[in-house]
Each structure stands twice: as structure tokens, then as C-alpha cells.
Subunit: 499 residues, 2 copies
């Protein structure tokens, strides 16, 4: 059994949890080349014994490294270092900070620290059927709906009241086109702490929703940009690109996400990806695939990646996975985050982080577009995040949603002979893939017969004609359903599908 090349020094004074210390140590060993592709790690039992810590702590660290694609777990054999492209490109890090003025030094550290606190984006139901079918179903397992029952309305009201008490006319005057600096500073700090993203407030543009930010991005990028999307994908973003008359290629995915070979063949200049938790498949893109995508983007000046980081804050089984943008040493990732899922869809505040070259283009050609977000709303949100309410709310919701998910998975356990369950590490929906040869239409029809709305995976595939060699799968969202509805809904589904 191979020992780690350097003995891990655990520091009990360190504010980081032990598992974080192990995770970061091994990650740096891999990044620095001390651990090489294909090398086997000590078993978790051996490492736990030699460090005199619990085996669970080691399992958590290994689990995180597997989630992020640094390690691979081979059944009955152990953990191995994965193959990763371009991982040793670290000297180029933080190049952006040298090129742009601002708070560069403040956020040089490239790691992830602090509590899990990650942003989300608004997803629409496939074809907007959710709204259409309201009332037709007893239980709707929509993957888009969120639970507002624990939202701190009183806090929100209190902040609103305080801001209006202090309101001077300046708050009612037109703010900066990119959004108010105070909120951009808060978002840049938040991105650093929760997503490992290092950017200055001058790189952030605040806008009224992701759709608006994409409209603005079209003006920055220009006409006829061929774009690649994952397949299946978030249909609304696809419709928006099509409304720009951007040629869209749909790139098949494997278990790591978008296939880079097919991306290369597509001739796209722009790739739209959801690395933290792909919608709707739930795939977490491992570090190796991330590096391949970053390499693809770095090969041509006009290539960019759009990272839609829509729901990674609700991650249940390990600490959050850093954003793709956090590994982006060549300044090729346009990062888009939103408060639609983490706070409320109604507040209409999203933001994007622009690479330096696109920021210059924005300033030259688009900075006359007025901000689309009210200054009062910006001030309220700023205080909500800055004073820690957002973090507390996210922690509460993560537990709350995790509890709902456990309930759902518990109810589904008896169905495991018929379905593979996946996508349960994060987000507000899971995936059931049929082991028999039933069609999605059949699964959907039977569920409908029992008054249950489920979402067939086929609705999220964009190709024509649809692929036929795909296993039937349906999506079950649980964000908005009360516990009793989840329990009863699953009971009915079981009867409908097994009957």
C-alpha cells in the first residue's frame, strides 16, 4: 500500500475543518505534480489510522476530491489520481488582476474557504408546462419551483425600512450602468469566499435577470457567434441564443459533461455550460473535463465559456465545488450568477463577471445602457448579503432541502430495482433512469393517471430527430413540495409505475 509522498501535517489550531485540510493538501499534491496521474492513494482506513482521525473525515475529503474530478474511485480497488489536462498551468494564475486596476491583492488566494454559500439561477420548466398545468395535478414535482416558506420576510422588511428611512434623493437617482459599486464589492467578496472566484468589482455587471445579461452579452460579443450547448440543456438559454440568430450546436454529454471532441468539431466560439450541477442531468463536471474546456477556450482569442452557476449553493454531500471560473487562468470564462433561486425569482437581480477583453469591449460599446436594477433594491440586497443574513438563510435552506431530498430518496428506495437514481448531490431535483424498457411517454402517462406531474428528460433534449438509444428518464423536483406531499406523491407514483 503506497504512502503519501509527504506526510500530511494536520493543524488543530487551523480554523479549517480536518477534512478540508486533507482535501486541500492532496489537491495541492496533485496540482504540484507530487502525485501523478494513475497513482493510487492510501485507503481511507489506513490514512485515518496513521493520522489518528476518524475514517469519516478521510472519506469526506476523498469524496470531495472525487466530486471535483481529482480522484477516481475504482470499485474494490481504491482511489486513483485522475488524468487532467493542463492542470500545471498555475503560474499564469491571477493574470487578470495584473491587467486591471482594483482590489487585486485582496483576492489572490485561489482556494475555497468559508461556509458553503453558492449562487443559483432561475430555470424554467420545459415548455412552461408548469404554469399551464396548475390545478390539473395533485402533486407537481417541478424542478424549478422553490420553497419560500422559510424566507426571512421580517429581516427583508426591516432592511427595506431602514434603507428608506435613510433614503436621500441620491438613492432615487440613476446609478452606475454596471450596478452600484457597494453591491459589486459585496458580490466580489462573496464570490471569492464561496466560489473561489477572484474578480474585482470593476469586472462585475449587475442586471435584471439572466435573460437581460445575455441580451447585453450579445451586444458585447457581436453577431453570428456560433454557440455550443450541452444536450440536454436549459431550454430558455437556447431560445435566447436562437432569438439572437446565433447558430446553436447541441453537444452530446458523457458522464463528465460536454464532450470536448464534439465541441471542437462544432466550430463553436462560445460554449454554454453548467459545471457545478448540469441542468437537468445533475452531472458535476470533474476537474479534468473543466481543464479540457479551458484549454479549448484558450486556443483562440475569440473563444469563451459561459458558466451558468445557477444552483450550486444547494449542495448536500460535501463542501461546494469551486466555480469553473476559479480555475480559469487565461481569463476565458464569463461567469453568470443569480439570486433568483437563492433568494427569490421576483427580486430580478443577476450578475456576470467579464473577462478583461470583454470588459474593455463593454466599456467601449455598451456602457451607455442604463442599469436595469433599482438602486433601492440593490441597497437592500447589499445589506442582506453583507450583514450575513444571506449566508444564514442559505444554511437553513440547505438543511431544509436536504431533509426533503432524504425523504424523497427514502420513498424511492423500494423502486431501485426499476430505476437508477442520480443527481442527488446538489440542487432541487433528481433523475430517475428506467432500468426496464418503458418509454418516457408511458412513465409520464401513468404518473398523470395518478395525478402526478413528472418531467420527462426528453423535453430537455434539443436535437431533431431525438436520439432513440437513450434510456428513458424522468426528473423529480422537490423544492416547493411540502414533506407530506412528497411522501404521498411518491406513494402514488410507486403504485402507478409498479402496477
Amino acid at each position: 500500500m503506497k504512502e503519501l509522498p509527504v506526510q500530511i501535517q494536520l493543524d488543530p489550531e487551523d480554523t479549517r475543518h480536518l477534512y478540508e485540510q486533507i482535501y486541500e493538501f492532496i489537491r495541492e499534491e496533485i496540482r504540484s505534480g507530487n502525485l501523478l496521474t494513475g497513482e493510487k492513494l492510501p485507503s481511507s482506513r489506513y490514512l485515518a489510522e496513521s493520522l489518528q482521525i476518524s475514517r469519516t473525515t478521510v472519506d469526506m475529503a476523498y469524496g470531495q476530491l472525487v466530486s471535483e474530478g481529482y480522484l477516481e474511485a475504482r470499485p474494490k480497488r481504491g482511489y486513483y489520481v485522475c488524468e487532467m489536462e493542463g492542470l500545471y498551468d498555475i503560474p499564469a494564475a491571477d493574470r487578470i488582476l495584473e491587467r486591471l486596476p482594483g482590489e487585486g491583492n485582496r483576492c489572490r488566494k485561489n482556494g475555497v474557504s468559508g461556509e458553503a454559500m453558492v449562487l443559483s439561477g432561475e430555470r424554467m420548466s420545459a415548455g412552461g408546462k408548469h404554469a399551464e398545468n396548475a390545478g390539473k395535478y395533485r402533486y407537481d414535482f417541478s424542478p424549478n419551483a422553490i420553497d419560500m416558506s422559510l424566507f426571512p420576510y421580517m429581516t427583508w422588511k426591516k432592511i427595506t425600512k431602514n434603507i428608506l428611512v435613510d433614503a436621500r434623493s441620491s438613492l432615487f437617482s440613476l446609478g452606475e450602468p454596471q450596478g452600484d459599486r457597494a453591491l459589486r464589492v459585496t458580490i466580489s467578496r462573496y464570490l471569492h469566499a464561496s466560489r473561489g472566484v477572484n474578480c474585482g468589482p470593476e469586472q462585475i455587471i449587475i442586471g435584471a435577470g439572466n435573460d437581460y445579461l445575455l441580451l447585453l452579452l450579445e451586444k458585447i460579443l457581436g453577431r453570428h457567434i456560433p454557440v455550443a450547448m450541452e444536450n440536454p440543456t436549459y431550454q430558455k438559454a437556447c431560445r435566447i441564443f436562437q432569438s439572437f440568430a446565433y447558430p446553436v450546436s447541441f453537444i452530446p454529454m458523457d458522464e463528465s459533461g460536454m464532450r470536448t471532441g464534439a465541441l471542437r468539431e462544432s466550430g463553436a466560439q462560445l460554449a454554454y455550460v453548467m459545471p457545478a450541477h448540469q441542468y437537468p442531468s445533475g452531472i458535476v463536471m470533474p476537474i479534468g473535463r473543466r481543464m479540457e474546456l479551458l484549454k479549448w477556450a484558450s486556443e483562440r482569442e475569440e473563444r469563451y465559456l459561459i458558466e451558468d452557476d445557477y444552483d450550486s449553493e444547494f449542495r448536500y454531500r460535501s463542501k461546494p465545488i469551486p466555480a469553473l471560473r476559479a480555475s480559469d487562468h487565461n481569463d476565458k470564462v464569463i461567469y453568470i450568477g443569480t439570486f433568483s433561486k437563492a433568494i427569490a425569482p421576483a427580486i430580478r437581480i443577476s450578475y456576470m463577471v467579464l473577462p478583461a477583453r470583454l470588459l474593455r469591449k463593454y466599456r467601449e460599446t455598451c456602457s451607455f445602457y442604463s442599469s436595469t436594477v433599482s438602486r433601492i433594491d440593490q441597497a437592500i440586497l447589499n445589506e442582506f448579503i453583507r450583514d450575513g443574513y444571506f449566508e444564514r438563510y442559505l444554511n437553513k435552506m440547505r438543511k431544509h432541502y436536504h431533509g426533503k431530498q432524504e425523504l424523497l430518496l427514502g420513498g424511492l428506495r423500494e423502486m431501485e430495482k426499476d430505476f437508477v437514481i442520480s443527481g442527488e448531490n446538489a440542487g432541487l431535483h433528481i433523475l430517475l433512469t428506467d432500468k426496464q424498457n418503458r418509454s418516457e411517454e408511458e412513465l409520464q402517462r401513468r404518473a398523470e393517471g395518478a395525478g402526478i406531474k413528472v418531467y420527462p428528460m426528453g423535453d430537455f433534449y434539443m436535437e431533431t430527430p431525438p436520439r432513440t438509444n437513450r434510456k428513458a428518464a424522468v426528473i423529480l423536483g422537490y423544492g416547493a413540495l411540502p414533506s407530506e406531499d412528497i411522501r404521498e406523491g411518491i406513494r402514488l407514483l410507486k403504485a402507478a409505475w409498479q402496477g
Copy 2:
């Protein structure tokens, strides 16, 4: 002296003011063809005597008809009916209401009634110099700044508080893409009462500012639409069209506004006009020119007029002039209004009224774009308008701005030998046209020497090379300046320009 063909019947029970009754009677006589082009009206003295009312009342009615282009005042000769194209097209009226479902009958009346209450839009300073030069000048006569000192902050806070007290999660959920129906109903009523515009709430799209609405309009109208703009014009709208790569033609204006001949020659499909109070010239487009523009638009299916109705609520010398859209019997006007000037730039709420054909296109191709305005903000604004606070605030501000304008005009009286003063019927700025042969550069330089920021008209002209046969003119805005600053600023200007 010619008598009116039909004796005016004044009704003391009528809720309308006497001058409105006279105004509407004569307008209908002209529209119905009872009074023909070139016919002379009775003198105001004669009409006042025959109706046993004050001459001021008749003068007000005649003044309104002149402002709207129905009558023409020939010095020392009296009032004559103007030439107007296509005025007798009234049977086609309200065609839109027959085509679309909704509250058609509620708003069939085509006239203007109620208190003057008209919307406004945000203007930027030419080249954004206002912000750059902050601190460099003692007094800045910016045409864009507004006065927030009388804004009913307490009322706004009270409404906000009440809405948040009642806040259910529905208020925090994603609303309708066009904006919440309650606010659209309120806006459609307001448009009917204050601007003579008849439209159902289903034709209204609410968005976060005019810039966003133009971005959405591009998606509805499509690519490469040649657009015509007045010259001089609102530069920001021009930059937005140019960012769409729309070919823009700049159409010269005469004293009635955009010249229709040059518009025809331009090959444009879209004409962007500000009929109520052209920015920056202050020209009110008379009914004859309006009819010519509407006729131009009706000749081809793809032609449309964009009516930017940005500041007509601040009209001081007669009741407001109906919107161009109010005379639009062929459904060719895209009406854009905003609350940026009438309430505050920070609230980021504008709206547009779409013709039926474009509304269909919007629904087919763009209705998946989420609303850009927070539902909470929509609810606050809805209550502010619906409960009469907006109307009261506008009335207060109209008096307030009128007082500032009187002060400004009083101070400028001694300069009338050097300048022609114009544009004083509405808005928050006036125009000084030089009678001598000084250049705008000279006027600006001398003003700057005295610490005063004025805005040369040349900055608003779009052609290259600039026209040289134009008289030098500067714009003085007075919206945001306190009375004492206006007084002192004018004193300094006088010394600088006459010295």
C-alpha cells in the same frame, strides 16, 4: 367676420372646463370637415362676447388648438384652420380594439379628459459630460437632472411597508413576462385619461427602463431595420440603434418637427420621434405633421413609428397634447413611456404599447424573456398611481418646475436683444438661439469662464460634417437647480455673454 358654422353649446353642468368644451367643439368641427382648411375663425373677442364668457377662456382654447396644430395664428389677422393630411380617417378608429380581446369598450372614447398627467423618459446629458464635470462648475444648467426635493418619500415608504406587511410568497415569485397585470391595467387607465391612448393591458409590456425596452423591440422587429431619427435628437437612443447595427438616417427638422419628405427619401422603416416635446429642440409636433407621419407609416406593412413620450407631463401653458398614438387609427405607433422623470430615475420602470401585429410577434418569438422588474416594485408603483399619489405629485411638480421656469425666463428677459428664447411650453429646459453671429464654442467658453455649464445645441446634432448654416444655440436646463442658483447663474451668464 365669419361665424362658427354651428353655435357652440356651453353646458355649465358639464364637468369639463369651459375652455375644454370650446376646444373640443372646434376640434370636432375641424375633424368632421365642418370647418375647412384655410377657414378663418371668429376673433377671440367676438366669440367671448357672443358666448358671454371671458376672453381668456377663448384664448386658452385657441392656444391649445394652435399647440396641437389644428389652428394657425397669423399675426394681426387672426386664427385659421391648418392644412392636415388624412385627418378624416376616423372611421378606422379603434381597429385594434376589435382585433384583440380585452377591455375594449372601456376605453373607446378617443378624447382627452381628466387632469394633465403625462409620462416622461430619462434623457442623458450629451456625451455624459454632466457627470465628468461635476465639481468643475458652480452652476450646471443640465437638461437631464430632476428635482427630488418634493418627492413624497413618506408615502412611498408607507406603501412599501404595507405591501411588505401583506407580502406572501407569491409576491416573491416570478411574475408575468409582460409585467404584472394589475400594474398594466393601471397604466392603461392612466394612458387613456392623460394621453388619450386607448389600449388594453394585454398590449403593454413593462420593462426595466427604455434601453431594455429597445433591446426587446430589436428582438421583435428583427435585424437591419433602417431607422430615421430627428436631428438634433436624443443621442442615447441613437447609440442604442447603432449598437443593433440598424442603419440610422438623421432627418432634418423644420418648425413642425421631422420633415416628411426627407423621411420618405431615407428609405427608413422605423421613425423615432418625440412629438410632445422634441428633445432637445422643444418643438411640439402639430397635428398636420403627425398625420403626415401616420400616413407614411400606414403605406407599408413593415413601417412603424416609435413615439418616445418622455417628458410631456411637465406642460405649463395649456392642457397636455394627446399622444401621437391617440391619433393612430392604423395601429402603427409603438408608444414608449417611463417613470424615470416623473417619479425617479432609480425606479427603473418603463413600458411600451405594442401594435397588434408586433404583439403577435412578441408572443411568438420573445415572450420567454422574463420580466426585468421586481414584482414588489411593480406593486408599489401600482398603488402609488392607482391611489392618486402620482397625480398629486405631478401636479405639485408641474407648479414647482413652472415657478423655476418663470424665474429663469424673468432673468433672461434682458437678454432678449441677443437671444431668441424657445421651448418654454413644456419640459425642464429651454433653448437660447443667438441673434448675433457668435459661435456655440464662444458662448460655451465664456459661460465656462464664469463657472457655468451650458449645453451647446451642436452636441445633439448627429450629422458629419456638422451643418454650418445653423444659428448658434445653447440649452439651459433648470429642473434640479434651486431658485437661488438659477438667479445667480443667470446673473453670471448675462455678465459673461454681454461683457
